[in-house]
């Protein structure tokens, strides 16, 4: 006999599928796109700034080699010495959301804080993508 102690919430938080009545309910994970610009801690911000300039997102995300989210580089912060490293400029530990949360619920949270984007990660912090509030509101 085995006990999957982290439970169903752990399964859901890793963006695993479920069966049942709510299996078709839209979640923030359903709308997380993986096309955000990413970089490593030691990357110079100059090239990152150029990529963000032509990206639909006003920021880049800093990840570890294993894909764990470490920080965010806002477009406004990228107007600096291009030789600086990402870890010198980034905002560490940005707010994140788990993929199983409902699209409507996250849209509401974002609206309350006047935010446009939801960064989605697993419980271990592995980046899954970024969801737009506009998409989440349309899904609800």
């Amino acid at each position: 006999m085995y006990d999957y102690t982290p439970g169903k919430v752990d399964w859901l938080a890793h963006a695993r599928p479920i069966d049942g009545k709510r299996s078709g309910d839209p979640t923030v994970g359903d709308y997380a796109r993986d096309d955000v610009i990413t970089c490593r801690l030691a990357d110079r911000v100059g090239p990152v700034r150029e990529q963000v300039a032509s990206s639909p997102y006003p920021f880049a995300l800093v990840k570890s080699d294993s894909g764990v989210l470490l920080g965010r580089l806002r477009r406004s912060k990228l107007d600096c010495d291009p030789e600086l490293r990402a870890d010198e400029v980034m905002e560490p530990g940005p707010k994140t959301f788990r993929p199983h949360k409902t699209a409507a619920g996250i849209a509401e949270q974002l609206a309350e804080r006047d935010l446009r984007w939801a960064i989605v990660t697993t419980p271990e912090g592995k980046l899954l993508g970024v969801a737009a509030r506009a998409d989440l509101e349309a899904a609800g």
């Binding site: 006990d3 982290p6 009545k21």
Partner: protein, 67 residues
């Protein structure tokens, strides 16, 4: 006594043919459950309800979380 496992252990056990049972109330099971799991509400657990399990294959049970 049961052996605590994590997600990677679960994946491996399921791949090896383990049975999966959700111990939450039936209503919660109906809302959403891990694919392949059967409903075995803890409060209704009995020799009869557990008889649906194969006697020799490993069994994995789960609830909502670890609390």
């Amino acid at each position: 006594m049961s052996t605590p496992i994590d997600l990677s252990d679960l994946d491996r056990l399921l791949a090896d043919g383990a049975q999966l049972a959700e111990a939450l109330p039936a209503e919660e099971y109906a809302e959403g459950h891990i694919p392949g799991a059967i409903s075995l509400p803890l409060k209704e657990l009995s020799r009869t309800s557990a008889s649906v399990l194969h006697p020799t294959r490993p069994v994995v049970v789960y609830c909502w979380d670890s609390l």
